[in-house]
Structure formats: C-alpha cells, structure tokens
Symmetry: C2
Subunit: 141 residues, 2 copies
DNA sequence: TACATACCTGACTAAAATGGTCAAGTTTAC
DNA sequence: GTAAACTTGACCATTTTAGTCAGGTATGTA
C-alpha cells in the first residue's frame, strides 16, 4: 500500500499555493522550484485541480494559480478525488453481487477491506489544507 | 493507494487455514480451489509466512499447513510484515535528515503522511485473524 | 519399495501502473 | 511584439505486480 507521487505532489503544491497566493497568483514555475517537482508534471496535476474547481488560473505574464476556496474548505478528500488518487482496498466491484473470486458470495475478507477503506477515508475527510498550514508554521516557530 | 494481491491473498489464505486446520493440515491445493488463488502464487506467499513463523508445514501425502499460533495472536500487522506488504506514505527515508525534495528540511507534507501511516497501521495492529473468523460466521448465520 | 501427494526453490515474464518528458500550441501583461 | 505563463495531448522508460514455469525434495500409504 503506498501513496503515489501524484497525490503527494498535489497536496504539496496546494500547501505552497495557500501560503503564497495571498498577493499575486503563483506560477507553476515557482512551485516547481520551491517544492522540487517537475514543471511538466505539475501542469498535468493542475489541469485536474482546475477541472475540479479547487484552483483558478490567470493566463499571461504575471499569471498563475490561486485557490478557489478558503483553505479550511478544501479537504484532502477533495484533492485526492480531483487527481484520481483513490483508495482501493477491495478487489471486487462494490456494486456487483459477485465476489473477487468470481463466486456468487463476497470473499471472506471483503468486509475487512471495506472497513479499512472507510478507516483511511475518514482521515482524508477530517484533514483540510488549513490544518497543514498550522502544522507547518508550528514547525517553523 | 491500493492494497496489493499479495497482502489480500495472504489474509484470505490464513482465514481459510484458521477455519479448516483444526483436524488435519490443509494443503495449498485446497486453499487454491476454495479461494480461487493460483497454487504457484500461494507457494511463494506461504514460503514467507513460514519463514516468519506464522504457519508450520508437514510434507508428504496428507501434509499441508497449520497455523503456528492461535488466531487471536496473529495480527494483520504480522501477516503484512511477513509478506512485505508495507504501508509507505512518506517518500523520504525516515531516519535520514534530508527531505524528499533533497533539501535539508522535511517537506511541508511530511508530518501529514507520517500521521496517515500511523493511522493506517493502527488498524492493522488492532485486527487479528480471530476477528475475521467472527465476522465471517456472523455473515453465515 | 513404488508412487502419488504436497511442500520447496528459483528463475522468468507479460501486463499494468508510475512518474515522468516532449512538442506544439494559446493567452495576456508589459 | 515578445516573453511569461497557462493548455493540451502524445509519448515513453522504468518499476511493480501478479503471476507462470520448471525443476526439485520429503513422506505417508498401498
Ligand atoms: S474483496 Fe470483495 S469479494 Fe473479495
Ligand atoms: S515525505 Fe518526508 S520530507 Fe517529504
């Protein structure tokens, strides 16, 4: 079970945005340099974040991205959904009546993985960007 | 973030074992048929489970595997460690002083992922094979 | 003692996912 | 007009996953 770079980078970039977008839009180039993420890869990620109305963009010189909501309104769940970083623990289709073994009943571990998924998702639903900002400034002081 | 088949199969197989090993050792062939898991793949998994003293084996005709501890003494943590299904959320080496960005400080999200890892692992530490047996028989009745 | 059953070991591999790069734009501030 | 910055889509190398395959070795039973 591991977290992919796409999810990790999305959150890193948005924290960066939350810290620096108060005066001017922030360019991906800046984020790329500050956070050490490939510029081209960031573009893919921000394209998805924009489609999901998590960020807004301004084109042209001095352009860049800005959060489209307040940091406390952006939960990790929203971010992860936007970039398709989903938690997948069960193998079977959840709606399907068939189990992952192809039989008519769910496998012996189905309920366990389902609980696990809920457990993990509850973490993402609790945490917002604002929590991360606090956490970060605590560490600086 | 997704669970791999190796971890999933290991738990499925051990639940099967816990249900059927009370009289005779259980052959991998039986598990393979009941759970719909490739026999050759099961052998790889059980090799690791054996090295980690989670199961014991008997060779020859009528041979097979038996749990080496009571179901309530086998936690998911133990199983996952045995088959190398580890939860990995941070990108950096934890001991290292360097962050995942190569800089001297930890990245802005490091603490978050570390919390997440703890959150997930606590689930695995709580759950034992016995819990799964209960859950399963509940569903049958 | 033969022989079938079942464990044991290690090498190999097809397919998918990951983590990007690259190329060719369009928009807009200055 | 030109450079900065967003936009789009194709492409690709590497790694991981989820196995397969080909040999073994041990042992209960007939
Ligand atoms: S995971 Fe849903 S049936 Fe096995
Ligand atoms: S995850 Fe540890 S420094 Fe980024």
């Amino acid at each position: 079970m591991k977290l992919t770079s796409k999810g990790r980078y999305a959150v890193m970039a948005l924290v960066d945005l939350a810290r620096f977008d108060t005066i001017n839009p922030v360019s991906l180039r800046d984020i790329s340099l500050r956070q050490g993420i490939s510029l081209d890869y960031l573009e893919q990620i921000f394209s998805k974040l924009k489609k999901n109305q998590i960020v807004k963009s301004t084109r042209g010189t001095q352009g860049g991205y800005v959060l489209s909501k307040k940091p406390n309104e952006i939960k990790l769940t929203n971010i992860f959904n936007a970039v398709d970083e989903k938690v997948k623990t069960v193998q079977c289709k959840k709606e399907s009546k068939k189990g992952c073994n192809g039989k008519a009943t769910k496998c012996v571990t189905h309920n366990l993985w389902d609980e696990l998924e809920t457990h993990i998702n509850s973490f993402f639903e609790k945490k917002s960007l604002e929590d991360l900002l606090k956490n970060n400034s605590e560490r600086i002081n």
